[in-house]
Symmetry: C2
Subunit: 607 residues, 2 copies
Amino acid sequence: MSLKKLEVTYRPFDRVTRVPPGTTLFSAAHWIGLPIDSTCGGRGTCGKCKVQVLDGGLEVSSADRKELREAEIGSGWRLSCQSRVYQDTVCLVPELQRVPRAATMGVNRLVLLDPNVRKVYVELAEPSLEDQRGDVERLQDALTAEGFDMKAGLAALATLPGTLRGCGFKVTAVLGGDQLIAVEPGDTRDACYGVAFDVGTTTVVGTLMNLRTGMAEAVRSTLNGQAPFGADVISRISHAMAGSAALVELQAAVRQSMNGILGELYTEAGVAREQVYEAVVVGNATMLHLLLGIDPTPISMVPFTPAFHGPLDLEARDAGLEIHRNGRVQTLPLIGAYVGADIVSGLIATGLGREDRLRLFVDVGTNGEIVLGSSRRILATAAPAGPAFEGSQIACGMRATEGAIEGVTLSDRVELQVIGGDVRPRGICGSGLVDTVAQLRLCGLLDASGRMRSKDEAPEHPLSDRLITVDGVRAFLLAEDVYLSQRDVRELQFGKGSIASGIKVLMDELGVTPGEIEEVLLGGSFGSYLNPESARVIGLVPPVDVDRILSVGNTAGEGAKMTLLSFRERQVAFELPDQVEYVELSARADFNESFLAVLQFPELGDL
Amino acid sequence: MSLKKLEVTYRPFDRVTRVPPGTTLFSAAHWIGLPIDSTCGGRGTCGKCKVQVLDGGLEVSSADRKELREAEIGSGWRLSCQSRVYQDTVCLVPELQRVPRAATMGVNRLVLLDPNVRKVYVELAEPSLEDQRGDVERLQDALTAEGFDMKAGLAALATLPGTLRGCGFKVTAVLGGDQLIAVEPGDTRDACYGVAFDVGTTTVVGTLMNLRTGMAEAVRSTLNGQAPFGADVISRISHAMAGSAALVELQAAVRQSMNGILGELYTEAGVAREQVYEAVVVGNATMLHLLLGIDPTPISMVPFTPAFHGPLDLEARDAGLEIHRNGRVQTLPLIGAYVGADIVSGLIATGLGREDRLRLFVDVGTNGEIVLGSSRRILATAAPAGPAFEGSQIACGMRATEGAIEGVTLSDRVELQVIGGDVRPRGICGSGLVDTVAQLRLCGLLDASGRMRSKDEAPEHPLSDRLITVDGVRAFLLAEDVYLSQRDVRELQFGKGSIASGIKVLMDELGVTPGEIEEVLLGGSFGSYLNPESARVIGLVPPVDVDRILSVGNTAGEGAKMTLLSFRERQVAFELPDQVEYVELSARADFNESFLAVLQFPELGDL
């Protein structure tokens, strides 16, 4: 496919955008925040998104033939959701009867409210001897007339006769895609909810979203109940290898965490379980496998293959989630065994694949997931970073909880930022570790090789009293009983070196230099707390201007919310793995070479 | 659509057939027993059924574009399963690499073995660092290469990693349609079974079919466990109205009957439950509703609407059937609330809608289901017949079990045919009742109005001693303690009158006379035992030559087996309700008028 961008002009707004060939007129409008109406979610069945093409030839799709009159087609009208642009195009968007809601989410991403779950209120003709259609067919015909397809499973079907006859055949059909989830008496369109889950190895976050308004009703998080079985994915997989009982145990643990969150969300928001029709779940490959009870062993062994890459559209009962009993659960796809649905979700939140700008997205944890690219080409990889960023294997390391030093400034004195505010520092978490090392570099107490100076070597330094030895190893005293040791610096060097090396491999593969990177996005629960300047000083990220380094928060959770609210964002997520080139580092000699090269810290003059 | 038949010629066989417009070249060949190869079951994905169109323009389908080369399309090659005939056509069928198996089933119907369940043996490339596809995608790609689509549910997915790695990635995929049912280690294509169920109100019959050979491995039948809740559908529905517990009770009863049959079938055939991947279930509307736990109440009340008409493709676990745990259950569609999937199945078994000949199909029971038509037009209706044909409400009536008189010949003596052979007659079953009445008519002891002669009125008759009175009512003594009363004759008159009246309404609607009916097919468990001559004498069926009246056996069960063995027969069954015009008798004045007219027996001279 040609990479040349095409120009699309929307009248009467005179809004112009440039898009890759093959983009639909609907999507292109959507991306620039221009609302085009649709009730079918871009499936080409509702006929509401029609536009008149004034310039630029467009093929007539079969959906056009079905939804539009011959004369309309003749005068250039097309369903914008089916019309793909292969040349510069000018089209007229007719005055809209209803402007869809939209919200800004993720990293300045505009999301049109167009959820996969839709409620349709219908008043059915009552049966008569002249009209003996079955209840299912009666409902189906009414929904078809409104532009919706419908498939009914047994569960939704079983109660249909009673429901229809109990309310005079005036009902609200709840559809998840074309699957009938429920038929509710009367008009219940006001109550329509879904939940977005980010299942992290450490933390599970659930957000209850109002699918009518697009607003979050409540957010809850909890430790992943699998924590007792190991802190990272490899130890979880090791436990799972103990046999099917262990796999069931891990599955039950995370289900319990998620259902615990659901219970709290329902209470806080005053929403009934039966009003929550869908969950979008993201997480790394191992978390998704364990949640679904699928043996993750092959993820941990060469050649690192998950059981599935694709998105899964499941019944809530199969996934074990306590939403509506006929509800749906959607997982986002994986890019690779170590670049999971959480990263796909992050790409949705950042819109990385949609813009011309070259951007680098890094999710820092025990694995560093790295994505580099733009709408032209996207590369992704995962670099093993070890536990340092999570505060493990560090002498005074701890998780980012109360008492953890999360920020450090060194000048002629030591300024500490401690979680919980005015509490006694108990240890150092990942961001505090990065800050300390960066600050030691900046104030001259750590050289580029990572060697810490001793009190003897820097007697004049205002902080020389802080230079101590612990069990014969050099260390820097941050607070009473809390210090950073030379060995801790080495741990961090290993972790940042691995990630930096992964970044370098992708940059080389793409043939770009640091100066061409317009933005560095630090995501994930750790990245969000990382000081951009410190990340740059230790060489975790390439040497770009510090104002180009952004903490972008929990992008995995944001993307999950966006794909819950927008069917089109979900489609984009489904297609992402095909667009992203996965680079397997363990197969590459250049990874190990550059790893050794970047173990050192950057020279300060190079920054 | 034009009703004009089109001529299709198949070279090099020079076989010619005439089919309705819109028929595919594949189906038309199939119907005349000309085998065209296909592995995808006519879905247009395997590319094996291609033929060269020599004369008669055919549109190029999207499947053609996908499966055939440009040059092939240019020289007239088309996928025969996608090519619909809209003009006389001549095509060349290439020499076939494999001739599909076929069997004669039903009423002289040739069925090509092409089951919905297919086993595909694949040897997958093992994963490597250069090929990190997920297990699902790896399997999917291999199946796509063989011409099969595949969707994997969670259950089949969960064990995939272990299965693949346990057998060197050489596996057999079991597909039900495009749904992945199982992945089995090694080549298991030899073992592939399905079960056909005919769920009657009285009797449940299950046949275990070998889907590889098309042979029945075992047959078992049992009384429907719902019998204690009432003999007919109306009493079953009345019980269901008692509330959801009663509905669950009825559901459990029939499930138990079916699972009991399954257990016996497995034992008899030496087949494991996990080798049985699909069940096709037919039955009347009420039986299907109750099996699936769906409230059947509206079926019993004006305007008689079932919850669903369409075919249901279910998971075995939802239907509660103990076949493979991920197996599929397929129900055939309904034509109306009282013309159910058993009749659709009967139409498959008789091929009634496919032939030019005008035929009448009658399934006699407490309801008489009647279908009249040919490939030109098909009408169907149901007439309430009362319990007489089932042996109820008859003084000495009984079910067709041991000791029941099932056949009667009257001359100067009484010859009885008793079920069980040389046993003492205990009562009369339906066919015995019809025979007795017919024989009494023929030997002059019953007049056309249905009035039985008394001993006084026929003193010279060789059987005059048999003319007795019981409690002041006239009766004919068949055996010790077994007699037919005048009141029994009236019951039968009501039942046969209702069915005959339904037949008359359909004949009038179609504008045909008895002479134009080429065959009368008596189906269902009762019809099969009915003496055709007797049926004609009492006027149950129109006065056609007796050799045109055929007992066709358990057509419901035959059709279920056929749709289990042939995906194309199943497709035909799915489409039947759209082709059959349902005539609702309760809305028609002419039904009641003709009912009164046909209560009488035909004059013997008119036969």
